[in-house]
């Protein structure tokens, strides 16, 4: 098989690859059955193993092994519609899990651009034609030297990792916009682990646990 001008190392690799690899008798039987079904071996062919040095396997054992392997065969035919349905299921589960996580985080959706152009500061109220609708509220804190700022409050179950603020590098402000249901919400910022009230919003008086919180009102009559 090697060409006359082939390098020596190539011949050595070829010889090595042509070495017989011992396999289990059952595997070998199945393989040979499949090969026999696919084509008849021809003398001199690479698939001709009539001079195989491996021990011969009794015919009865071969038939038993083949029968067993056939019993194990499973034919799965996937209809295109079923494939599409499965894909849709996985996508839906992913979307559902994401939405559930987001809603748990803050019962809010951090998206100021898709709901309404109104982005009031905390402490302000909004005119609302539909009182049950959530409103977008923009929270800002100027903390140029902070490395991490999050929001905690009654709207996110006081979860300190649920609502991180994004830093605006041009202004040094930390910002997040949330959709909140109508009502009075108590909140605070967590700046590098320290709890701070919003300096621009009304304060809540109930500082039972050390420091004051702030109040944001959603859905009131603005004018």
């Amino acid at each position: 098989m090697s060409e006359p001008d082939s390098p020596r190392w190539l011949d050595e690799i070829g010889d090595e690859l042509r070495q017989e690899v011992p396999v289990r008798a059952a595997w070998r039987t199945r393989l040979l059955e499949d090969v026999a079904r696919a084509r008849r071996p021809v003398a001199g062919d690479d698939f001709d193993d009539r001079n195989d040095e491996l021990p011969m396997i009794p015919t009865a054992s071969v038939e038993t092994a083949v029968a067993a392997s056939r019993r194990r065969e499973r034919v799965i035919v996937l209809h295109p519609l079923a494939g599409i349905a499965a894909a849709v299921v996985f996508i839906a589960l992913g979307v559902g899990a994401t939405l559930t996580a987001l809603s748990w985080h803050a019962r809010t959706l951090a998206d100021s651009s898709t709901v309404t152009g109104k982005t009031p500061r905390p402490g302000t109220t909004l005119a609302s034609n539909a009182p049950a609708d959530r409103e977008v509220v923009r929270f800002e804190l100027s903390a140029p030297t902070a490395s991490r700022v999050t929001l905690v409050g009654s709207f996110n179950e006081w979860n300190p990792v649920a609502t991180p603020l994004q830093r605006d590098s041009s202004t040094g402000k930390w910002i997040v916009s949330l959709r909140l249901p109508p009502g009075r919400h108590v909140y605070a910022f967590v700046v590098d682990g320290d709890v701070k009230a919003d300096p621009t919003a009304p304060r809540a008086a109930d500082d039972d646990f050390g420091s004051a919180n702030s109040v944001v009102l959603v859905g009131g009559r603005a004018s």
Partner: protein, 211 residues
């Protein structure tokens, strides 16, 4: 068989969307945080149940528990805070009247906590008027609590806000009033002077706007 699988897939998809929608619109979580001990949980649940039976809003109580856990307060302090809030909620509802909503009761409780007296809450409720179209006092109560928290004498704060509410000043104007008073206080003006000037200014502005 494929049709059955397809139907099952559709059911799963529908359930997934329904679950996500339900979660997005879910009411506030009314469970107690896991770290609390069994005796504390029993005490807190007793307090919350008694508030529910009394017709008081319970979401602020759950929120108070969660805030305490978030701030790593010891359990005794959490129980004391919830007891106090439950008491304030009852007093606020009593002062404001049975017809007020949960948000007003909660804001009223916060005003009481800031040092406003129940009688002043009642006067505020009376100043709002007695029609069927009574505007909620939530914003007025929040402004009142804020002023008192910032050091304005509660009696003065209550008198000013009462006057503004009696003149049907809007919620937006009330919030502007709060901001202006805060600015004056930061600027060194006395609370009495700031309140007087800002109240008069707000009333004049409201009179000008009146058709």
């Amino acid at each position: 068989m494929i049709a059955r699988r397809l139907r099952a897939s559709i059911v799963v998809v529908t359930l997934a969307f329904a679950t996500s929608r339900a979660a997005a619109q879910a009411p506030p979580d009314r469970t107690l945080p896991a770290p609390l001990s069994a005796p504390t949980r029993a005490t807190l649940l007793g307090l919350i149940d008694s508030a529910r039976v009394a017709g008081l809003p319970v979401d602020p109580l759950y929120s108070k528990v969660r805030e305490g856990v978030f701030r790593s307060a010891d359990e005794g302090r959490v129980i004391a805070a919830v007891q106090r809030l439950r008491h304030d909620l009852a007093d606020a509802r009593s002062a404001l009247g049975d017809s007020v909503g949960a948000e007003e009761i909660t804001a009223g409780a916060n005003a009481l906590r800031a040092g406003i007296r129940p009688a002043e809450l009642s006067r505020l409720s009376d100043a709002r008027g007695r029609g069927t179209d009574r505007h909620p006092l939530t914003v007025a109560l929040v402004v009142l609590a804020d002023l008192a928290t910032r050091g304005v004498p509660p009696t003065l704060a209550a008198a000013s806000v009462n006057e503004l509410v009696a003149r049907n000043v809007s919620d937006g104007s009330l919030l502007s009033f709060r901001q202006n008073v805060e600015r004056d206080l930061i600027g060194g003006r006395s609370a009495a002077s700031a309140l007087d000037a800002r109240t008069r200014s707000m009333i004049e502005d409201a009179e000008r706007r009146r058709p």
